[in-house]
Amino acid sequence: MSIRRPVAIAVVTVVAATTAAACSSSKSSGSGSSGPKETLTVAEWTNPGAVDFTKALNAQFEKAHPGVTVNFQNTSTANGAWGQLSTSLLQSKSVDVLAQFAPTQKAFPPSFTNIKPGGPAALIEAGQLVDLKDQPFMKNYDLTAQQAAVGYNGGVYGVMAAEYAGAGSIWYKKDLIAKYNMTVPTTFSEFLADCAQLKAAGKTPIFLAGKVGMQGGIWQGIENQTLMAGKQPTDSVQVSSDRANAFWQGTQNWNAQTYKDIGAKYQQVMQYIEPAASGVDQQTAPGIWAVKTDDYPFLLDGSWDSATILKANPKLNAGLFVLPGTDNAADNRVPVKPDLTWVVPTSAPHKDLAMQWLAMFSDPANYQSWLKATGSMSTEPAVSNTGTSWMDWLNQHTSDSFVQLTTPWIPQGASNDAAGPDYYKLSPIGSDSLDTILNRSASAYTKSIGK
């Protein structure tokens, strides 16, 4: 038999398959008999509250835009899964609205550092994200906060939709605390005294996920309040920038007395953590803490885990406060971490629809639901996250909150120690003393900048 016949059959099959694929492709993105059909792709990482809200918003969007289908994609941030998904979506130029962590101004180091931005900052610098500054829905947001979170060269390249009490934020069991006649501590000494009293009563005062370094929140909480003491909340971006410059110029380093004092306080707090906390994972910590109602009065965790905590134990009477890092109550303000930021890639196939989706998201009524679902603090001045019992303390202390300080600029390839103390090696979780850790960090930082 001649070879020509099978070859001809194969060619016909390939052509037919290609034609069929082209037909089915045009069906989903082109026009059909029932009007144009379009698919808007929205992607975010998995936070149970945020995912539930986004699904509901997508349904609302589809109802308001007949012929439009929202393709919603999400995955966990654990093990780099989210990074892989978002990069794949960007590579395929198929995503319209994408969640990113707010890069903040630290992600754009001055040119003299010769550090190239990574993550969303690299996308912004390369012109891969749409400037949203002039979009009508941006009027709903505090422009200064948006610029601090995702601003670059006068543009605003996303909508920072969520910010959380991060550094030093502590969940507490209201009923358990009340049993020992305690109220939310306002100074560092008061907090230590509460921990000592609880320990004496046979409780393990603090639970945390040390396997992923959550203990760093204790250090960062104390550090933020110490460095911001006596300053206006609006100064925080400048304080971060001044510190970064001082480190780069060599006039400040990790072994300065300030950091020794912060470290000493950190170690005092760490006496009261669950002894095996360094093996506890972040994926299990909020749930374990929530169901164990007779112990662990405090959980060191961000306010973003509200949905997980309340899902694990809906009856839990929980609250959230920020670790008082100094003995002056007025200085113990809430450091706020810019978090989930919606961006629109310049490669988005449906930019107009993306803007309409963001406009619907930004509608005050929808945004109010978003806040309630995620436990985020509001980035829209006209909307506040009220009506949630665990946020009572936080709501009373948001007026003087400040944007969480960022760490100095670190060149690529520098040792982890250069970015600050290694909480895995510092005692009591590790075996290294505070002096050893700080000197190692100072030395690593000096080497990393080539001085």
């Binding site: 001649s2 070879i3 020509r4 093990n79 780099g80 990074g83 892989q84 990069t87 960007l90 590579q91 130029k93 962590f101 190239k116 931005p117 990574g118 993550g119 690299a122 996308l123 610098e125 390369a126 012109g127 891969q128 040390g210 396997k211 992923v212 370094g213 669950e274 002894p275 095996a276 906390a277 360094s278 093996g279 506890v280 994972d281 299990t284 374990i288 310049t346 490669s347 060149p411 690529q412 390839g413 520098a414 040792s415 982890n416 120690d417 250069a418 895995y424 090696k425 979780i429 590790g430 075996s431 690593a444 080497k447 990393s448 080539g450």
Partner: protein
């Protein structure tokens, strides 16, 4: 002239080329191109994100890795070497032990062999998550066992001295069934008369193993040691799921993955680490192959 199995003379010229071209194109696209691109990226400060500039910087990433600037590369190489050596030696030993134990006829032995091989087919993420839950120091069953035996608590995967050995043990648990199968194949290739001769000479079990079985298993040992070492050198997923590379478990593979695809992705730096990893693989793989083949010939 004999009839060609491929048909007429015109197609005869076409068919062999097509046969080579299809896998060849696949290799060019998915083998050679990524490898060459990795070498190219290693000379840049490329973020790896679409549309961002390459930022060619010459040998900057290599300079960073080999000067005092980087405090991460050398500890990562050291951890990798400990990990590779530990897993290769123990997994080979466990595989051999299991093969000796289960190389018998009978359905029950077939069942046990399948059971031991089974972890190999699970995804690394599943195995990692299961062991992370077992080793949870507050709620995990391992904690009860530890407390019962040592009357103390342990952070297990959060303990600087235990984390690496535990990750190695999980790796060995997962892949020792594979080593066992290779050894069973090796055992079945040993001719029976050799054992009969040894028995006639009055050799006991230990002497038979030492002087007959072990030397004749040399080819299987070569395959096992080489494959385990090469597989372990590139391991990062299991470590990522179990410890995230913390507590002294960051291998070069994980460091590369973290640098290239982590939160502050820098594909350029990660590519340089991939080239280092390639170099390390070449040295270790070449050394092992040379040594093991020589041993085979001597035996």
């Amino acid at each position: 002239m004999s009839r060609c199995p491929f048909g007429t003379s015109r197609t005869r010229r076409f068919i062999p080329w097509a046969s080579i071209a299809i896998p060849g194109i696949g290799w060019l696209l998915f083998g050679l191109y990524p490898s060459v691109a990795t070498i190219g990226y290693s000379f840049t400060r490329y973020s790896g994100l679409p549309g961002t500039p390459l930022n060619y910087c010459g040998f900057c990433n290599y300079t960073t890795a080999f000067t005092a600037l980087s405090g991460e590369v050398w500890p990562a190489i050291k951890t990798t070497l400990i990990y590779v050596a530990g897993v290769t030696i123990l997994q080979t030993a466990v595989g051999l032990g299991l093969a000796m134990l289960l190389n018998r006829p009978g359905r029950s032995y077939t069942f046990y062999r399948a059971l031991i091989f089974m972890p190999q087919i699970f995804s690394v993420a599943v195995v990692g998550t299961i062991f992370a839950l077992i080793l949870d120091p507050v709620m995990g069953p391992a904690e009860n066992l530890w407390h019962g035996v040592f009357h103390s608590t342990s952070a297990f995967l959060g303990d600087n001295s235990l984390a690496l050995p535990l990750v190695m043990l999980v790796n060995i648990w997962m892949f020792s069934g594979y080593s066992m199968l290779i050894y069973i194949a090796g055992l079945r290739n040993i001719p029976k008369p050799v054992y009969e001769a040894a028995a006639l000479d009055g050799a006991g079990k230990w002497r038979v193993f030492r002087h007959v079985t072990w030397p004749l298993l040399a080819p299987a040992t070569t395959v096992n040691v080489f494959l385990t070492a090469m597989g372990t050198l590139g391991e990062y997923a299991l470590i990522l799921v179990l410890t995230g590379g913390n507590f002294g478990t960051k291998t070069l593979g994980l460091y590369m993955y973290d640098s290239a695809f982590g939160g502050n992705s820098q594909l350029g730096y990660g590519s340089m680490l991939a080239i280092l990893q390639f170099g390390l693989t070449l040295v270790i793989g070449g050394g092992l192959l040379f040594g093991l083949r020589r041993r085979e010939i001597q035996l």
